[in-house]
Symmetry: C2
Subunit: 253 residues, 2 copies
């Protein structure tokens, strides 16, 4: 593992200090050194096959707030996140924003390729991605059944996650939303090698609000309350879980 790649997402003891805004550049080799290697859709390919894969993949980096693509753009590429965090959102005509999700290393964009992107993707932290031309990728997928199967599994996961979020937004209170979100994010970070007690939150409170269907004030109040009652400890760019069972209980399965 290369800790320099995703400082905000692998909150080792380093989380106590401020995060450096820009991580050191990665040597843009092939998939070999890719930190998302074990997580990504790419894992479906045997090592030998990765060459063809690396050939059509184009590694790119984005600084915070840079956009990967915009809602309405021609969907000419698909992406695998290799480091950092990306927010995916839709805007309503009057400016209201709904963040559909936060993407982590190994997450894939373009499972449901339409002619145009239905949402905007923006870097939250410094982000590394593997960008694939949509057509080349589709062609490759056609020739590699493993990859296709992997894509289906990823699509299944994504659909399940979307449904979880529908339940969260439709039927949970503000406190339950925050608790459930934190637990889910903790799980995703843990699966990527992060600890299970400190949860990195590189996104703003406004981002959280726009993801959870709340206002920034409500998010802030809920987190303050959880901190006051010693369920959480607020740390820079994250929270530390002090009382996991209680947080779990608040999430309301």
């Amino acid at each position: 593992m290369t800790p320099a790649l995703a400082p905000a997402l692998l909150p080792t003891p380093a989380l106590g200090q401020r995060l450096r805004p820009h991580a050191a550049a990665t040597p843009l080799t092939g998939c070999d050194g890719c930190p998302a290697r074990a997580l990504a859709v790419c894992q479906a390919l045997a090592d030998g096959e990765l060459d063809a894969f690396g050939d059509i993949g184009d590694q790119q980096r984005f600084a915070p707030k840079e956009t990967l693509f915009r809602q309405g753009d021609d969907a000419d590429a698909v992406y695998t996140i290799t480091s950092g965090m990306v927010r995916l959102y839709r805007l309503l005509s009057d400016g209201r924003r709904q963040i559909l999700g936060f993407l982590l290393p190994g997450d894939f964009i373009g499972l449901a390729p339409d002619a145009r992107y239905a949402s905007t993707a923006e870097a939250v932290t410094p982000v590394g991605v593997c960008r694939f031309d949509a057509h080349a990728y589709a062609a490759l997928a056609e020739r590699k059944p493993h990859l296709l199967a992997s894509l289906r599994r990823a699509a299944a996961d994504e659909l399940a996650a979307a449904q979880d979020h529908i339940v969260l937004l439709g039927r949970r209170s503000a406190e339950e939303r925050v608790a459930a979100f934190l637990i889910a994010l903790r799980g995703r970070l843990a699966r990527r090698g992060g600890g299970a007690v400190t949860i990195a939150l590189p996104m703003s409170r406004q981002d959280l609000a726009d993801h959870l269907g709340l206002t920034i004030e409500t998010v802030s109040r809920v987190i303050s309350r959880l901190a006051r009652e010693r369920t959480l400890l607020v740390v820079p760019d994250g929270v530390r879980v002090l009382d996991a069972p209680r947080l779990q209980a608040l999430a309301a399965a």
Copy 2:
């Protein structure tokens, strides 16, 4: 077309009168007479290939309130809806319910096959389905690239619909939710041959509430208000759109 198959969903002039709860039984032939033929994932297969398809498909009917499968059951089958309406929902431990969606003829369940069903499927109206053994279906899909491609398209559509619903639940008011839902349902019904002015609503107000993240009283009040101001006309088991532009405006793109 066989109007007897889905009276609640193809609201021809018949919508003015009460709907008969049970439609006449269909002759269970193969895919030839299937009312969902042109809509379903099955359309991917050339007519010649349908034999193999029909062979592993098992046509079934469900009366209102019967369940196709339950959240937590082994996911041993996938389904194509051929007639009627199905509600897909999840329950929280304390009884709160979130309806993820209402399925119409041509809709497919099992795009994201996990080991267990993540939600419960229940007939709203009398329902006809084509039931496929999950393994046989997967095996068939493997041999028919057209089918696989069709499944991907369907998965893309479903994911997009889930994201639309996330936006609806996260960032829209009660009135906007009802308006947006009606417009979306109208579109889906229209694509299936229904008219564009009368929208069939065979589900209960409680179902609508549990889909839109509201209470039954709020749904009732919003619909009453829209009727009072002549945007809608409430008819048995549905609504008629009197002022489509206004409804569109209320939905808030």
